[in-house]
């Protein structure tokens, strides 16, 4: 056994050595841990680690196969996201022990803090002492054993799995119920307790999901086909959209779910124009060769940056909302154009990883599909806080799309109406967030950029926190961003439009002198290269496209993404429907669209008199409406030179 002494080594150095020793099959003891955070994070070898003392946050987090023994206490989130292996804690555990575990065994000999086993998918979490409130909160599977008393609201909003309590069950959370325990389960519990030398109690109460909240009584009714143009039309009273909304609610009796983004007039990039004549744009067929567009994102703090052939990337969209073939086509198209793709929520598929040149792996509050192995094969990691279409809410995936295969990747029960948690279990403030970012960096050897996805809401404060917490870049998403499924009321009424979002973000960074400490990727209803150039002029480092890429790849904008029977095979998990989608063809369409974006960016940049996209700035823009002038502070010059005088010559 090799000793690593944390009185001599930093946790980062110790973890690097630990991983190397793990590869060599060596067991390790950690001396003088003194409650430091991230001990053992990212270890994926079947070795034993003995921690002599107390450990801090995320001890044994993001690991697989290893066996940890901590002689004393642990802080928040012990065994975070662990795949297999075990952790035995001699003393007490802080909040969220066993958060998001996917198969490990965790034993705590003392008491454990609140929200134990939050969003766990599989495995066993056993507490010999008492549990604090909300053990089993939003758990998707696996087993929690509490030999002492349970706290308040046991099993709050659990979707599946079992909780066994030997002591007192104080009260049950929403959608949890007591049920009978069978002999097979008892035998299995005794086998587990024997294995860890824990004396079995006389009996257990068993708590499971009561099934009252996971599925709607009536399923979401398909809409009539209203083209998006009329759906988002400018007439306010009793237009087809309003009528359809009322008709659907008269059947379901609840709020509506639909796909796509905000369908109402909002200030947008069409409300600003270029100051200079763009008469020369397009004249030069080789303009792409004359403008430097290579863009690096995520390297400002020393991580290995994403290398984009133009300041463009793909917006995060999930495998789940979209079919596997669609994600594959987007990945192929993005690779052909030399830009980065993003997994969105719900995990990484092999097809997507193989096809994408560079891939950002997104981590959401439900930790659906999140794991150490896919983190390691990603090119960047991203913490999702919220999205522009529905800031403050989690993702929604209707039962029709939660197929057994998809459920397996996400680690959830098949066939539930999945409402992803809107909050992370372990990020309750900017202070916790710092420790979470560090965990990701520890797990991946500080090589990958870590970004944050922010829906435009409390932008000024959020962007400052992102800067202070040291994210490598920020993806900022405005209200015009789309979603695979969201409440129609929220999509149309909640959020900050993309244009004011970027203005406020830049102002906030300038206020704290951090303009050069954060790279901003802007998204939310950006349609083409013209919008991208305007975003760059306003201060974005890159623009991201979601909906336009989907449309390039065959979407007909019927807004039925939530239903699961997408006629184009894009927003579906039904193999019969997906058959219609041809990734090899659609990837070419996506690639061609992205190349048109490249050409637009080059042509406009060139016409504005520059040879590098980094030279674009606010001075290149004017506001075309008083409202846009007010929002952006740009001069109101509603007759831009490029449209009025182009090719008309001068008056005699």
């Amino acid at each position: 056994m090799v000793s690593l002494d944390l009185a001599q080594l930093s946790v980062r150095e110790a973890n690097t050595r630990l991983r190397a020793l793990g590869e060599a099959g060596e067991d390790v003891e950690i001396l003088n841990p003194d409650a430091r955070h991230h001990i053992g994070v990212g270890l994926t070898a079947p070795v034993r680690v003995n921690v002599r003392g107390s450990a801090g946050y995320f001890c044994a987090g993001l690991t697989d196969q290893a066996h940890f023994n901590i002689s004393h206490n642990v802080g928040w989130g012990v065994g975070d996201n662990m795949y297999s292996g075990s952790v035995v804690v001699g003393g007490n555990a802080g909040a969220i022990p066993g958060v998001a575990i996917r198969g490990a065994e965790i034993v705590i000999h003392g008491n454990m803090g609140s929200r134990a086993g939050q969003v766990m998918k599989a495995g066993t979490l056993c507490c010999v002492g008492n549990a604090n409130f909300m053990a089993g909160y939003m758990m998707y599977g696996g087993r929690i054993i509490i030999l002492g008393d349970s706290g308040e609201r046991l099993g709050e909003d659990m979707s599946s799995g079992e909780i066994f309590v030997a002591g007192k069950v104080e009260d049950l959370g929403s959608d949890a119920m007591l049920t009978d325990i069978d002999q097979g389960e008892l035998d299995s519990l005794h086998e587990f307790l024997d294995r860890y030398d824990i004396k079995a109690p006389k009996g257990f109460s068993k708590v499971v999901n009561a099934g009252t909240k996971l599925r709607y009584g009536t399923s979401e009714r398909p809409m009539r086909s209203i083209p998006f143009q009329s759906f988002s039309g400018a007439s306010f009273y009793w237009n087809p959209k309003i009528q359809e909304d009322i008709a659907i609610k008269s059947q379901s009796g609840r709020y509506r779910i639909r796909g796509y983004g905000g369908a109402r007039p909002l200030p947008h990039f069409s409300d600003i124009g270029f100051r200079k004549s763009l008469a020369s744009a397009g004249a030069d067929r080789n303009v792409i060769d004359k403008v430097s567009m290579d863009t690096e994102i995520g390297g400002i703090n020393g991580a290995r940056p994403l290398k984009l052939s133009m300041p463009v990337m793909i917006a995060p969209m999930s495998y789940g909302a979209l079919s596997r073939s669609t994600k594959q086509a987007i990945a192929l198209g993005s690779a052909m154009s030399g830009i980065a793709e993003n997994t969105g929520e719900g995990g990484m598929s092999d097809a997507q990883r193989d096809a994408a040149g560079q891939l950002i792996f997104q981590c959401l509050g439900g930790r659906l599909g999140w794991n150490i192995h896919d983190m390691r094969r990603a090119d960047a990691l991203e913490i999702y806080i919220s999205q522009g279409a529905k800031p403050g809410l989690g993702g929604q995936l209707m039962a029709k799309k939660v197929t057994p295969e998809l459920a397996k990747i996400r680690g959830i029960p098949a066939g539930i109406d999945l409402r992803s948690p809107s909050r992370h279990p372990d990020i309750l403030g900017a202070d916790d967030l710092v420790i979470k970012i560090e965990e990701f960096r520890e797990a991946t050897g500080y090589e990958l950029p870590v970004s944050v996805k922010l829906g435009a809401g409390r932008i000024r404060d959020d962007i400052k926190i992102a800067a202070k917490d040291g994210f490598d870049f920020v993806e900022l998403d405005g209200m015009q961003g789309s979603t695979g499924a969201g409440s129609s009321e929220v999509i149309d009424n909640v959020g900050i439009p993309t244009l004011p979002a970027i203005i406020e973000a830049i102002e906030a960074l300038e206020e704290i002198g951090a303009r050069d400490k954060v790279q901003l990727v802007l998204m939310g209803g950006l349609r083409d290269g013209v919008d991208a150039v305007k975003a760059l002029c306003l201060g974005a480092d890159a623009a991201a496209f979601g909906t336009s890429v989907i449309i390039a790849g065959g979407c007909i904008a019927c807004m039925q993404c939530h239903v699961g029977t997408c006629v184009t095979g894009i927003a579906t998990q039904d193999p019969e429907h997906e058959k219609r989608y041809k990734p090899e063809n659609e990837s070419q369409n996506i690639h061609r669209f992205l190349e048109s974006v490249r050409w637009q960016i080059a042509a406009i940049t060139n016409a504005l008199g520059y040879d590098n996209v980094r030279q674009l700035g606010r001075d290149d823009l004017v506001a075309l409406t008083p409202e846009a002038a007010h929002i952006t502070g740009l001069p109101y010059e509603p007759v831009p030179v490029d449209t009025a005088t182009f090719n008309m010559g001068t008056a005699p």
Partner: protein
Amino acid sequence: MCGIAGVMYRGVGQSFDTGKALIQMLDGCQHRGPDSTGFALYAPEKSGRLKMRFFLEKLIEGDSQDSINTIRGRLGELGAVVEEEAQVGDNYRVTVRFGGDIQKLSYEMERAAKVISIGTSLEIVKDVGSAHDVDDRYDVHEFRGTHGLGHVRLATESDVKPEAAHPFWATGFADVAIVHNGQITNYWKMRRRLQQQGFEFTTDNDSELIAVYLADKLAQGAALKEALASSIDDLDGTFSFLVSTQDEIGYAKDRLAAKPMIMYQDENLVAIASEEVSLNRLFPGQALNTREPAPGTYATWSRSI
């Protein structure tokens, strides 16, 4: 968005290295708040004396001596006799002989200068930067006393400036200080209620409100324990805070337990912090028998026990 720490040594009539202890504890959790750091340090002064600290405005044109003269002049007018004075970092520190109404003196001085703290044993030191940065400027490590609080801050909704740093003194109430991690959501409602009773606030920070709220209860004759019990009912939001008076230290934690807190006690001291890593800084190489206070609970410790 912060880290908090508190320590109280047992042993009547003795003094301890509270400054060094708090620097260590705060350095241990500096990751929770890199913007500013502060200390509330307690050491009893001779009877009839008050210790006062003021911010000297760096940005004001002219000499800081002008501000010192203003403060000194105003103190004289209010019947406070200066016995000792010094300029420490960006602070003016003064000990006065004073027998009048401390609350009235405080409010009058607030109008003349930026008061950091007033007390018979309390002194607050706070500024932008890390625990070691602030120590370099104010020699916190030299401070010996009985107990104290500390705080590291990441500014989220207000500016990074010394006045917005913690600890907060309960404006107008000698020796009451607080450090807080969290957010009080019924701040304005509570503040209006206290303002109607005549209390004055010098910042828009919710932590100052907790300090004044508790000090008011104490002034009405409540024990610190009782004041903390009612704070859990009266304050909305997420919070873990520590409070200290001339001879007591206490904590309160909201029912959601969204903000961490962990404590350790033995025959020599009681220490409380956001994270165990801070407690362990006082006992390197030892595994501590710590305890996490339950949600919705409070407790106090007094120097006499």
